[in-house]
Structures are given as structure tokens and as C-alpha cells.
């Protein structure tokens, strides 16, 4: 049905082949440890056969930045992705750096209906040419599965599926719904979703699934679709009915994927998604979790693959799968609505889906480049570091006894995947196993904007309202010299760039940056008796390329164990400059980039002394005799000598 998705006919038996396993967040220290303990036999075999190096990550070491380094062979100055979060210097509005999803801009109004002229759109914000586009130009077949920072996928001749950055059907990066009749559960928005109060009447619950904003209606109210749940009055079991589909769930059971169609204009316009239900509790209180509504890969509402039918092809071959970029619902754990076991089952489903697709796609590979991305180590190192590290503020011995090996288990699954690849290696096949960054504990938070406020760099109109959660609420921009946005970014309030900038570019800005840098490097955590920040990079030194001046002016590199505080990232001012991290999200990597390198393993000897992510695109191209593109700053890791990063 999709001829271009079928494997290409075998060509010359001497054609080079390249397999890349991209394992987000695989940490060299943990990998070494698990290898020493005999838990990663295939990785040990690969190291013995070829090589294992640390891979220098990006500045800052955040996934959208790091994978963009890999994709383009440039650093953030070239690809313009500097952080998860960017700001518009004129409005100081915040947005996700890698993509933008917009509804239709114009509409004709007819009564309560607003008929949009043209559909909504999705725009990828990463600049530069992706390595697979260069492969396309040279007729090298390629499959690129779920690489981050590729939503919507750039035009390509090969098979690509978008990954991190792909929104749910509501245009968010994951919004779950939690239905309950528990009056103790506060109705309304929680961090990653919303709690929806329901009533159990005659053992029956009726409620609405929350869909996308309906831009066809005046005011763009959310589209909803009703569903009902018949709860057994005695047993812990329920029957759910959604749009004619019926399924039974026992307490503690996840449903399969359920397809849902949201009617925007009856008989005229609709949008399809899919979600999973988790029946958390029947009695005494009704508790039902519904996952974010994912874009249906069989009929995607937004572009998620090239060719456009590839996502449907994958569904036919390997079943339904999460399309949302960050599929693991970590927020439901942070909000206390899913416990560790419940979350783990969801996280294992995500990996099982990826492995099913891998098992369907990898055997087809016989020419060119095959890239496959795994998210599991990253998300689960974020969530379960606290259960393998007794020094973490959230360490719990009882919970550790139950799930303390979760991270190790996911590493072992990666070893199993590698075990499927090793037998396919031959003289013409190169394998790269790599990660975008490593991992570290996240013990303590540093509230950068609070520190800037306390040190006189930010001025508020009214000091009594500093506790607002609204981004930069009450900031007096005409007396503010610097501000923090995102996980590592620090910006000077520059005249001519920011709409109310007050610091002159040149000497004044340079001396201010030097002053702030020196002060930040001197910040001590009196509780832990160590520096909070070990590195501060100047954009002018860290970045090369056309966009080098569009990101933060300073990049704050936190010490191992520290990260930007939860609220400071979006411009809030918590009371304390430094505080314990009591969130289940307990491991992180958004730190000093030299402290969290990634891994690079190959079945061949790696010649580069200090390989970096920016070397990977030139390496891929060199394997096929393709010169690196203009702006690429690295070189093949198989060529002697070290590049400038």
C-alpha cells in the first residue's frame, strides 16, 4: 500500500551501511557501572570489538539543543535552538523553542460559528540542513525514527517520524485528564493536566473527553466528546463507552488505545486522536485517568511523518503508538495522580511500542542509514534517580525496594536491543550507539530570577507581589538589567533588542555580563558547602553561526546535583534562592555541560580524542563520501585529530 515504505531492493553487497541507535540520556558512568556488573553484555561486547568514548554534549546540555547539534553538525549559533524555552525579545512572550503550532489566522463568522479560512499550521523553528536531507541529495536511502527537534518533519525523501516536540491534539506537550468524585481533589488545572469533578449516580458516570480548541466556533471553545462509565456497585470493575466503543477495565488496568473523533462542525469538519484510559479506583472514590489525546498516526491531524503515509504504515505494521513527543506522563506522577507502579506500566508501554516498531523496521534495513531513537533512559532517569540514590531528598527506602532498579531495567532493555543489532554487523556496516547527554542527580534548585532580583539586576514595580506564578509578573523593565528564561539562559535587557531594554550593547553589556558571571560562579550552597554553578559561558564564545546572537547572552552551567528551579524557568520569583528538589523528577542534565557528557560506542575504532555531537553529522556524511555542509563545525570521528567544538 505504501510502496516507498517498503524496503529497497538489495544493491551492491559492498555498499556501506550505517546504523545509529540514539539513546536519549544514556550516561557513561551508569553504563560503565552496569557493564562492570555484567548487566550490559552486548555493550561490553561492542566496546571490546570497537570503541567506547564520552561524547561532548551541547551548550547547554538539553535534548532539543543537543539533538539539533547532531542533526545539523552546528551548535546553537547555527541551528538557533538554545534551550527548551525561548523568549520573544519584543514582547518577552515565552514559547517552546523547536516548533510552533498555530490555529487558522482568519475566519468568517456565521452566528456562533467562525469558519476558518485555511487550516492551522505547524512550523519547525530549527535552522540548518538535517543530515538526512543531505543523504537524500546523494540518493542514500535513510530511515530516521523519532529524532527530536524534527516536528513538523522537514521535507525528506526518506522515511522519517517526528519525535520530541510533537504536540498532543490540544497543541500542548501533554495534557491528561483525571476524573474523580473525590471532593478532596481540587478541581481545575494541575501542572500536566486537569482534574475534572464527576458524580457517580446510579453507578454511572458521564463526562467529556477534552479535545482541541474548536476554532470553528466563536471564541474557540474546547471541543468535547461525551463518554460514560458504568461502575459495578460491588466489584472493582467498570465498562467505559466512548463513541460506540465499549471496553471493560478492572481497577488498576490500562486500556488499549481508544480512537476518538472530535466533531468541530457536524458532518463537515472533525479531527481524530487517540487516548488510553487507566481505571485507578472504583470505590470508595471514582478515579479515572485519561492520557493526553495523541495525534492518531493512522490519520494524523498534523504532519508527523515523511512520506505522509509512513505513520499509518507503521501503525499497520506494528500497532498503535504514542505520537506525542514526550510520551511518558511524568507530570501525572509529579501531580500525585499516578504512583510509581502505574507510571512505570505506562513508561514500559512506550518502550514496548518502540521496540515493536524497531522489530518491524530494522529487518527491512539493507542500504543507507538507519537511525532509531529511544526515549526511555532519559525520562526514567529523570523520574527514578531518587530511588537509587539515598542522598536524594526524595529517597524513600520502601519505594526503593520496589522500584529502585527501574533505571537499571531500562538500561538492560537497551542492551537487548543492541543484542538484536550486533548479529547484523559485517565489514560494510558501521554501528554508532550514542546519547545526547548523560545524567546526574537533581538534589537542589537554584532560582536564578530570585537571585537576580535579590542582587538588584531585576526590579519589581511592587515587591509585595513577587510570589505571582505569572511569567515576569510586575517586573519594572525600565529598571531591570538582566533576566533568566529557560533552564540555562540568562539575558541582558539590551537597549534596541528588548522592547524596554536599558543596557547599551558593547562595553556596558560586556562589563555587566562579566560582573554577573563572576558573582554566579561565587554562589555557594551553605547547606551542601559547595558551589552551585561551576561554569558560565558567554554566547559570543560558545556559539558560531548566523543566529549566535539570538539566544541567551550567558549560559549558566550548574554544578552536579543542581538545576534551575521549577518556577524560575518561566520567570517567577520563589522566595528562596536555593531549595531542595522535592519533586519525583529527581535526575537531570541541564547543568554544566562538561559534567554530563553522553556516550559514543562503535564497532570501529574512534580516532577523535574528544568526539562531540557536532561531529556526528560529518561522520554520517563521510561514511558515504559526502562532504560536510557549510557551517558544520565538526569532523568525522573516524578521522584522526580533534575538532574544535
Amino acid at each position: 500500500m505504501l510502496s516507498s515504505c517498503r524496503s529497497a531492493p538489495a544493491d551492491s553487497r559492498t555498499d556501506p551501511r550505517l546504523i545509529i541507535l540514539g539513546i536519549d540520556g544514556m550516561d557513561p558512568q551508569l553504563l560503565h557501572r552496569f557493564m562492570r556488573e555484567g548487566k550490559m553484555r552486548n555493550f561490553a561486547k561492542l566496546e571490546a570489538q570497537g570503541d567506547f568514548r564520552q561524547l561532548t554534549t551541547s551548550i547547554p546540555p538539553q535534548s532539543p539543543v543537543a539533538w539539533s547539534n547532531l542533526i545539523t553538525g552546528m551548535n546553537a549559533g547555527g541551528h538557533a535552538i538554545f534551550d527548551f524555552i525561548h523568549r520573544d525579545p519584543k514582547t518577552l512572550g515565552l514559547y517552546f523553542s523547536a516548533s510552533r503550532v498555530e490555529g487558522p489566522k482568519h475566519a468568517i463568522r456565521l452566528g456562533s460559528w467562525a469558519i476558518p479560512l485555511g487550516g492551522g499550521s505547524a512550523e519547525q523553528l530549527r535552522k540548518g540542513v538535517a543530515f538526512w536531507q543531505l543523504l537524500d541529495e546523494h540518493a542514500v536511502p535513510n530511515t530516521i525514527f523519532r529524532i527530536p527537534s524534527n516536528f513538523p518533519p522537514v521535507a525528506a525523501k526518506g522515511k522519517t517520524l517526528s519525535g520530541m516536540g510533537t504536540p498532543d491534539l490540544r497543541g500542548t506537550y501533554g495534557t491528561f485528564s483525571f476524573y474523580t468524585d473525590d471532593p478532596a481533589a481540587a478541581a481545575g488545572a494541575v501542572e500536566g493536566g486537569q482534574i475534572i469533578p464527576v458524580h457517580v449516580e446510579n453507578s454511572r458516570v458521564t463526562a467529556n473527553l477534552i479535545g482541541p480548541d474548536n476554532s470553528f466556533r466563536k471564541g474557540s471553545p474546547v471541543a468535547v466528546e461525551p463518554f460514560s462509565v458504568a461502575v459495578d456497585p460491588l466489584e472493582s470493575v467498570a465498562k467505559v463507552t466512548v463513541q460506540g466503543q465499549e471496553f471493560v477495565l478492572r481497577e488498576g488496568e490500562w486500556s488499549d488505545w481508544i480512537r476518538v473523533e472530535f466533531q468541530l462542525v457536524p458532518f463537515f469538519a472533525n479531527v481524530k486522536g487517540m487516548c488510553r484510559f487507566y481505571f485507578k479506583q472504583a470505590h470508595p472514590r471514582f478515579q479515572l485517568y485519561v492520557s493526553p489525546i495523541n495525534i492518531d498516526p493512522a490519520d494524523p491531524a498534523l504532519p508527523i511523518s515523511t512520506p505522509s503515509g509512513y505513520s499509518r504504515f507503521l501503525t499497520d505494521e506494528a500497532g498503535e503508538f504514542h505520537t506525542q513527543g514526550i510520551a511518558e506522563d511524568t507530570k501525572a506522577v509529579s501531580d500525585g495522580l499516578l504512583d510509581d507502579d502505574e507510571y512505570l506500566r505506562q513508561a514500559r508501554t512506550v518502550l514496548a511500542e518502540h521496540r515493536r516498531i524497531f522489530d518491524a523496521e530494522f529487518p527491512r534495513f539493507n542500504r543507507g542509514v538507519f537511525f532509531f531513537y529511544f526515549s526511555s533512559l532519559d525520562l526514567n532517569s529523570h523520574m527514578f534517580w531518587r530511588l537509587m540514590d539515598p542522598k536524594h531528598p526524595e529517597y524513600d527506602a520502601t519505594l526503593a525496594a520496589q522500584n529502585g532498579s527501574a533505571i537499571e531495567d531500562f538500561y538492560e532493555q537497551m542492551d537487548q536491543v543492541l543484542g538484536e543489532v550486533l548479529p547484523r554487523l559485517d565489514d560494510r556496516t558501521t554501528l554508532l550507539v550514542l546519547s545526547d547527554h548523560g545524567f546526574a542527580p537533581y538534589y537542589r534548585s537554584f532560582n536564578l530570577n530570585t537571585w537576580l532580583l535579590d542582587n538588584g539586576y531585576i526590579n519589581l514595580k511592587n515587591d509585595t507581589s513577587r510570589n505571582s506564578s505569572e511569567p515576569f509578573a510586575n517586573v519594572n523593565w525600565t529598571q531591570t538589567r538582566a533576566y533568566g528564561v529557560g533552564l540555562n539562559g540568562l539575558y541582558i535587557n539590551l537597549r534596541g533588542r528588548e522592547s524596554n531594554g536599558i543596557v547599551e550593547a558593547g562595553t556596558a553589556a560586556d562589563s555587566l555580563m562579566a560582573e554577573i558571571r563572576a558573582k554566579l560562579l561565587a554562589v555557594q550552597d551553605l547547606k551542601a558547602k559547595q558551589p552551585v554553578i561551576t561554569r558560565v559561558d558567554l554566547a559570543g564564545e560558545a556559539y558560531q553561526g548566523s543566529y549566535a546572537r539570538e539566544g541567551p547572552d550567558l549560559i549558566v552551567g550548574y554544578n552536579r546535583g543542581y538545576r534551575a528551579g521549577w518556577q524560575t524557568i518561566l520567570g517567577a520569583f520563589p522566595t528562596d534562592e536555593i531549595e531542595d528538589n522535592t519533586n519525583p523528577w529527581s535526575g537531570d542534565h541541564c547543568m554544566d555541560y562538561t559534567l554530563v557528557p553522553g556516550v559514543l560506542l562503535s564497532n570501529r575504532k574512534i580516532a577523535a580524542e574528544a568526539p562531540a555531537l557536532t561531529d556526528i553529522a560529518p561522520t554520517i556524511l563521510a561514511e558515504f563520501g559526502i562532504p560536510k555542509a557549510k557551517g558544520m563545525i565538526g569532523q568525522s570521528v573516524f578521522q584522526p585529530g580533534s575538532a574544535t567544538h
Binding site: F84, G93, H106
Partner: protein, 69 residues
């Protein structure tokens, strides 16, 4: 400060505005003018004077990334 405010358009500008409104599919000249002004206001005003509702929407979208509270 409150209530509506009328702006008089005439001559060549009015003709062009009418053409733009029609070409872009706006229901009326008023709707086009209001939308154009909204876009300019959002560009010019600093965030503390912008709408908090839209900031909350942006925050909600970003929270799903996991890194943000």
C-alpha cells in the same frame, strides 16, 4: 478608557483596508482593523501589560515538557 472608540477611515486608506479585509476573508472592515491592531498591540506592549490569559495558555502548553512547574 472604557467602552468603544470610533476611528474614521477615508479615501485611499479606506479603499485599501476594504481590499485587504476582503482578500483575507474577514467578515468586515471592523474585524480586520481590530485584528490588525491586536497584532500590533501584542508586538509593542511589554508582557506586564499583555494579557495574562495567553501567558497562562503558553505556560500550560509548556508544562507537559516535564521540566517546568
Amino acid at each position: 478608557m472604557f467602552g468603544s472608540h470610533k476611528v474614521k477611515l477615508e479615501g485611499e486608506l479606506l479603499d485599501k483596508v476594504k481590499q485587504c479585509a476582503e482578500a483575507c476573508g474577514y467578515a468586515s472592515v471592523d474585524e480586520f482593523v481590530v485584528h490588525a491592531l491586536e497584532k500590533e498591540v501584542n508586538k509593542v506592549l511589554p508582557p506586564s501589560e499583555g494579557g495574562s490569559t495567553s501567558k497562562e495558555i503558553v505556560k500550560k502548553r509548556l508544562q507537559g515538557l516535564g521540566y517546568i512547574e
